[in-house]
């Protein structure tokens, strides 16, 4: 059993004996050919940064350096925007059916290379291979496939008989779903006839650079897609560039507000996908076993580093104890460890900075009087890790009930009536997602109607589909990505 204990060393033995013992089942890294260094992708070419700056991208689970990447500065931003501007004329003049075929090609190449890309994403991001393989990559390919089909059907999308593209789109994406967020940004932008300059997050630049290579394989005209790895300064320079027509950002609410101030007074169209503090509401008539699974996937999917995570559990008082007990039992069976292992449920936290933020907020939770429980699992000695954690005795005043933690931490609150559940669910500046668990259809729909949230999942959570619009109310941002609605963000509909 010695060799088997490796993946299960973190597992505590509770009444159920913890997780079953599994032999390690790591996905092979050999399917990914990582270069020692990568450049910026501007005008169809990989190039160094103008000032020669580079940065290292690390594996969050081992802290090894994966590669060295060129770091874009203001000069590079200008070069990329110019390339996108030059490409815009011919690209937007192409018949929609021809643009569609480029996007279909991209979708097909992503499908073909999905195993490689899943491993790459897991290496750079730290999330379990189970998620990149079964969730991220299939959605990425589906997103390109879906928007490919819109490119020649824009006249049918409900935005007038001949909707026009905006021009050059500046797109800044986060590190939690690197390639999926890229797909959400680039696919509709290109389908509508725009050209793009995209900045991936500094901790997860690699899949975007592999995507640049896919654009070349697909024969995409130069300058239509430009990829600028870099930090916040590059993002700020990009969104502030006078020659961009559209700004799309996914990330924190604080940065989103800064961008909104930056584009004020310009002609730039803006869409923002920001933070959340999703309420997952469990009524006493809910199928509780199913609800527990939904709570788990709602907050522990991608280590809780999800803007639409169900980070606040609102459970009806009469079943609160039963639900929390079942939840804790379930959490002791989760496997935390090597993200490349196919049995891993909980991977690494993406960066030391993010881990520090989670730690700071959970410490505040304890200090403010909430009761902390963490799944009794042993954390690996290298890398960034955080055990699945549940807070009970949480009040609405606690920071852990108000601020986005962006980690595997659930705050449990209780309610007595549906009206109280709605009031508590809406008591946040955010409004991205919510969940409702009940067997009664009319109750689900009545509650859904009152929730100020852009996505409401009934008896399910964290469901995504390219045809389904996603986005937030209030300070979770504005605009929608996905579906017919997602086209509006990239069309001149004034």
């Amino acid at each position: 059993m010695a060799e088997m204990s490796e993946t299960t060393s973190g597992a505590a033995k509770d009444a159920f004996g913890g997780p079953f013992l599994y032999a390690p089942a790591p996905e092979s890294r050999a399917v990914v050919d990582l270069a020692p260094s990568y450049g910026l992708f501007i005008d169809g070419e990989f190039t160094e940064a103008a000032d020669g700056q580079v940065f290292k991208t690390l594996s969050p689970s081992t802290e090894e350096v994966l590669s060295e990447v060129a770091r874009a500065g203001a000069e590079d931003v200008d070069r990329a925007v110019k390339a996108a501007r030059r490409a815009f004329g011919p690209w937007s003049a192409l018949p929609g059916a021809e643009r569609a075929k480029y996007l279909f090609r991209i979708a097909r190449i992503i499908q073909e290379r999905s195993r490689e890309l899943a491993v790459l994403e897991t290496l750079d991001n730290g999330k379990p291979i189970k998620e990149t393989r079964d969730s991220d990559l299939p959605l990425v390919a589906a997103h390109f496939f879906y928007y490919a089909g819109w490119a020649d059907k824009l006249a049918h999308a409900g935005f007038g008989p001949d909707p026009r593209p905006l021009g050059v789109a500046a797109q800044v994406i986060p590190w939690n779903f690197p390639l999926l967020m890229l797909a959400w940004k680039i696919a509709p932008a290109l389908a509508a006839g725009n050209t793009v300059v995209l900045k991936p997050a500094e901790t997860t630049p690699l899949s975007a650079l592999f995507f640049a290579d896919i654009c070349r394989s697909a024969g995409l005209p130069k300058g239509v897609v430009n990829i600028l790895p870099g930090y916040g300064d590059a993002g700020a320079a990009l969104t502030a560039h006078p020659d961009v027509d559209k700004v799309a950002f996914t990330g924190s609410t604080a940065v989103g507000k800064e961008i909104a101030r930056t584009v004020a007074g310009t002609r730039k169209k803006l869409t923002l996908e920001l933070g959340g503090k999703g309420a997952n509401i469990v009524f006493d008539d809910a199928p509780l076993d199913q609800a527990v699974e939904g709570i788990v996937s709602g907050i522990f999917f991608n280590q809780g580093q999800v803007c639409c995570a169900g980070s606040r559990l609102l459970v009806q008082e009469s079943v609160a104890e039963e639900v929390v007990d079942a939840l804790k039992r379930r959490l002791t069976t989760l496997r935390l460890g090597d993200p490349l292992d196919k049995n891993t449920d909980i991977g690494a936290i993406n960066s030391a900075e993010q881990l520090a933020r989670i730690t700071e907020l959970t410490d505040a939770g304890e200090a403010e009087g909430a009761e902390r429980w963490s799944a009794p699992c042993e954390l690996p000695s290298t890398g960034h890790w955080f055990a699945p954690t549940v807070f009970t005795q949480v009040t609405q005043a606690h920071r852990i009930a108000r601020e986005e933690i962006f980690g595997p931490v659930l705050s449990v609150l209780t309610f007595r009536t549906p009206a109280e559940a709605v009031a508590k669910a809406n008591n946040t500046p955010y409004g991205l997602s919510a969940g409702i668990w009940s067997e009664k259809g009319s109750r689900i729909l009545a509650v859904a109607e009152k929730l100020r949230a852009g996505v409401v999942w009934a008896n399910s959570f964290n469901k995504f589909d390219p045809t389904s619009p996603f986005g937030g109310y209030k300070e979770s941002g504005h605009g929608r990505e996905g579906g017919r609605h997602g086209l509006e963000a990239y069309l001149d509909v004034r």
């Binding site: 589906a142 089909g149 020649d152 059907k153 409900g158 009031a423 729909l445 009545a446 100020r452 045809t467």
Partner: protein
């Protein structure tokens, strides 16, 4: 005796054209064939001359395939239709020759028809998961109800393919039926059936489930009559029916209230298949289903922000 054998010209292998029914390639149960000629009346091949029984068998196959095909996700149907485009592209040369011979076109003009046919599959591949958002939607009824209308495929569709445009016209009428989730029984152009019969070979290798598309060749009037009158056919596309026949078929179709798509003009076949097809060939084969559900009341207004 000479040292070297006489050089011989290799004799080519002719193809036996067959029907495409239930994912298989049967001959007509009637054992009949008819000679197909090119535009200058030179013989090209024999095509099976399908019978009423073949038509009925095809309906059975289409009905059997309907559950699986209509139950597949729209995304999956889109992938399959795109796969048809990929397969057709790979056999472009063969289709260019067949279309050129069938329609008396130059090689370049025939190639353009084939390219347009490939693109037509791509166009409809993109519609499978979009038509619901264009043709359906939430209805703001004056009451506490969730009310949503969604399009659903009507069932088995009999398709009389255009008589002149042997491939592009055929694809233009077949692909939308498949895109909606319906299954099809196609009657190929009477005089130009060969590209249609070859298309069956493409469909058979494109992940299209057997029976979702069935292709018959023969006399249009003979095959169309039993289809128009068939009680297990939900809709009929009369595009390839000559004017007098179209009226007769529409009348027969009324017996079980088939959805009928009439020919575009009195000629029955004057349609320009190179034009943007829009959604006019999708909606005739879709039923709209509206679901009501009470939303209940919480008796509170909730937060206004």
């Amino acid at each position: 005796m000479s040292d070297k054998p006489e050089p011989t010209v290799r004799l080519s292998v002719f193809k036996t054209y067959k029907l495409y029914v239930g994912g298989k390639f049967p001959r007509s149960e009637s054992g009949r064939v008819y000679e197909v000629t090119d535009s200058k009346d030179r013989p090209l091949a024999n095509a099976p001359q399908g019978s009423r029984k073949d038509a009925r068998d095809a309906v059975v196959a289409a009905r059997k395939a309907f559950g699986g095909w209509s139950g597949a996700t729209a995304y999956n149907r889109g992938q399959v239709l795109y796969r048809v485009a990929e397969m057709l592209e790979g056999r472009a040369d063969q289709f260019t020759r067949e279309v050129a011979e069938a329609e008396g076109l130059s090689r370049a003009k025939a190639a353009a028809q084939v390219s347009a046919a490939v693109d037509r599959w791509v166009w409809y591949a993109g519609w499978t998961d979009k038509i619901a958002q264009v043709a359906g939607g939430a209805n703001p009824v004056a009451g506490p109800f969730f009310n949503l209308s969604s399009p659903e495929p009507t069932g088995v569709v009999a398709v009389l393919a255009p008589q002149r445009s042997s491939l592009l016209g055929l694809v233009s009428v077949l692909a939308p039926v498949l895109a909606t989730g319906c299954t099809a029984v196609v009657v190929a152009s009477e005089d130009r059936p060969l590209p249609a019969l070859t298309l069956g070979e493409v469909l058979a290798t494109s992940d299209v489930p057997g029976g979702a598309v069935n292709i018959l060749s023969g006399r249009t009037a003979e095959l169309a009559a039993p289809l128009a009158a068939h009680q297990d056919v939900n809709a009929i596309d009369l595009t390839g029916a000559p004017a007098e026949l179209a009226v007769e078929l529409e009348r027969a179709a009324a017996d079980n209230l088939k959805r009928v798509l009439r020919p575009a003009d009195a000629e029955g076949d004057g349609e320009d298949f190179t034009a943007d097809p829009g959604i006019r060939r999708l909606t005739p084969f879709l039923e709209t289903k509206t679901v009501w559900h009470p939303t209940g009341s919480l008796g509170v207004s909730g937060s206004a922000y």
